[in-house]
């Protein structure tokens, strides 16, 4: 712990000593991370909305003729036990007929056809999380069709397919923006840390000759990379929070990132900062030794 505090103090000193460069770097990193966080926020809201819509639409399972109420209740309990299923409501053929006749303005279907043509049905709604998964509704409907006494399982194919496609595109966009952000963050951090390292090169040479290990020299730079990314990530999230609050009257119901995603975003920033710092420092560290040998020659 003491050692980490020492490395943190050193990193903070590097940050403070080159505060002009550090500030420019943090601003640039924040801008990139803001864009990434914005895409995450849009995705989060779209996924939540699509989940709610799909869950509301659900699947209507038509049971075969002659299926007893008891069997229908069995199937209701069975489907309710599926992880993706939020609720299963049993609608008897009598209730369905009543509802149809109401929809038809009081026309008696029974009188017209001589019998009730409607089957018993189960109305299945999905959990929001499952509904947000592309293809989940289709998979669940197909699985339900495999059961005896299930005649058909229908859902709004077209619009759910369109929604699924939209979600897939959004996830691809997420990946693309994530990749580009990572690339930009990596480049900015790589350049900044190289500059800091070059500024400390003489000190590093001295440390090497008095017996510092590479780990001792490298660690403050790794902490510096992580620290810069953490500060930038925090700043990006703050900016996003401010922007969302400012636009909240135009975008009612547009939620901010949940705490778990905020934590993940910051953790990801730190890990990425560490990796970028390692990639920047490792060759430079070995370069110091080679430079020294060339100077001697």
């Amino acid at each position: 712990m003491q050692q980490f505090r020492f490395f943190l103090t050193e990193a903070w000193e590097y940050l403070w000593r080159g505060r002009g460069t550090s500030l420019a770097s943090i601003v640039a990193l924040s801008a990139v991370l803001f864009l990434f966080a914005l895409v995450l926020l849009v995705t989060h809201n779209v996924v939540a909305w699509s989940g709610q819509l799909s869950a509301r639409e659900g699947i209507t399972v038509f049971l075969a003729d002659g299926v007893s109420d008891l069997r229908a209740r069995e199937l209701q309990e069975l489907f309710a036990g599926f992880g993706e299923v939020g609720e299963v409501r049993f609608v008897s053929r009598e209730e369905a007929l009543l509802s149809l006749e109401q929809d038809l303005g009081g026309l008696s279907v029974n009188d017209a056809l001589g019998e009730n043509p409607l089957p018993n049905t189960l109305v299945v709604s999905l959990t929001s999380a499952a509904a947000a998964q592309p293809g989940a509704t289709q998979r669940l409907a197909a699985e339900m069709l495999n059961y005896d006494d299930v005649e058909d399982a229908v859902f709004g194919d077209e619009w759910i397919d369109a929604l699924d496609q939209g979600l897939r595109r959004l996830r691809v966009a997420n990946l693309a923006v994530g990749f580009l952000s990572a690339l930009a963050v990596g480049l900015v951090l790589f350049t900044t840390l190289k500059l800091v390292f070059l500024g400390r090169r003489e000190t590093i040479r001295i440390l090497k000759v008095v017996g510092a290990t590479n780990r001792f020299i490298r660690s403050p730079f790794l902490v510096l990379g992580a620290l810069q990314c953490l500060l930038s990530g925090g700043l990006a999230l703050l900016l996003l929070f401010g922007a969302r609050a400012a636009l909240s009257s135009w975008l009612p119901g547009f939620a901010y990132l949940p705490p778990s995603q905020i934590a993940l975003f910051l953790l990801g920033s730190v890990v990425f900062g560490l990796i970028a710092a390692l990639l920047a420092i490792e060759p430079a560290l070995h370069g110091v030794e080679q430079d020294r040998q060339e100077v001697v020659r």
Binding site: Q2, Q3, F6, L207, V210, G211, T213, R292, V296
Partner: protein, 239 residues
């Protein structure tokens, strides 16, 4: 403590020209040995070989249990931490105070207790007479003070070997004598001291043994009689 066996060193390849040529030398514990020679005689290279800043082209060097032909690169920092090195150009970290420069070495060796760091730093700064200037930055010190700071840094982790490469090269004679006096005290306290210099007078005044190098070869060894008798008379045998 330090042993060189038929050491050759070239910066141009395995066939020379040789900066050091067929050099064999043994330095015992608690000895104070001076390497004398003109510029280019190979004194600094010899010191670099001891800390494995350079590896011998041929031959073998043993420092403690570290054998140059066997030691791995990741073990080199451990060897260097057993040595304290003083350079002609001081090599102090400019943006750290005198005390921070000294304390840095302790932190590097894994000592992070603030009380221990403060006590040890004060002890060596007191030894070299820089305690009062411990909060100053190196650039505000005179050459002699900077060199004393470098010596304090070299001593703070209590190394068994102290190497000094032309430590008085940038100093006036009076200050030079003062620096050698500090190194002598370090030697009396138990450290092996190896000094590269071209100052014959000071070498004869302070050395247990003088090794004269000429164009990379060991020309001769001397044991200054005056020094030996004074040493025995004042302190008794140190070995």
């Amino acid at each position: 403590m330090i042993r060189l066996e038929n050491v050759y060193k070239s910066y141009s390849g395995s066939t020379g020209p040789w900066v050091l040529e067929d050099l064999s030398l043994g330095i015992g514990a608690r000895e104070m040995v001076f390497l004398l020679g003109a510029s280019g005689a190979g004194k600094s290279t010899l010191l670099k070989l001891v800390t494995l800043e350079e590896r011998p082209t041929k031959g073998k060097i043993k420092v403690h249990h570290f054998d140059s032909s066997l030691v791995k690169e990741r073990q080199v920092p451990e060897l260097r931490r057993r040595c304290g090195v003083v350079y002609q150009d001081f090599r102090l970290i400019r943006d750290k105070t005198v005390q921070e420069n000294v304390a840095y070495v302790l932190k590097m060796t894994g000592i992070l207790d603030p009380d221990v760091i403060r006590n040890e730093s004060h002890r060596v700064l007191d030894l070299v007479g820089l305690y009062a200037k411990r909060h100053q930055f190196p650039t505000t010190l005179s050459g002699g003070e900077q060199q004393r700071c470098a010596i304090a840094r070299a001593l703070v982790h209590q190394p068994s070997i102290v190497l000094a490469d032309e430590p008085t090269g940038n100093l006036d004679p009076a200050m030079g004598a003062e620096i050698f006096e500090i190194l002598r005290r370090v030697n009396v306290a138990g450290a092996t001291v190896l000094v590269a210099t071209h100052d014959q007078d000071l070498a004869r005044r302070f050395a247990d043994r003088i090794v004269v190098l000429e164009q990379g070869k060991l020309r001769r060894e001397e044991t200054p009689r005056a020094r030996r008798s004074v040493e025995l008379g004042e302190l008794g045998p140190v070995r």
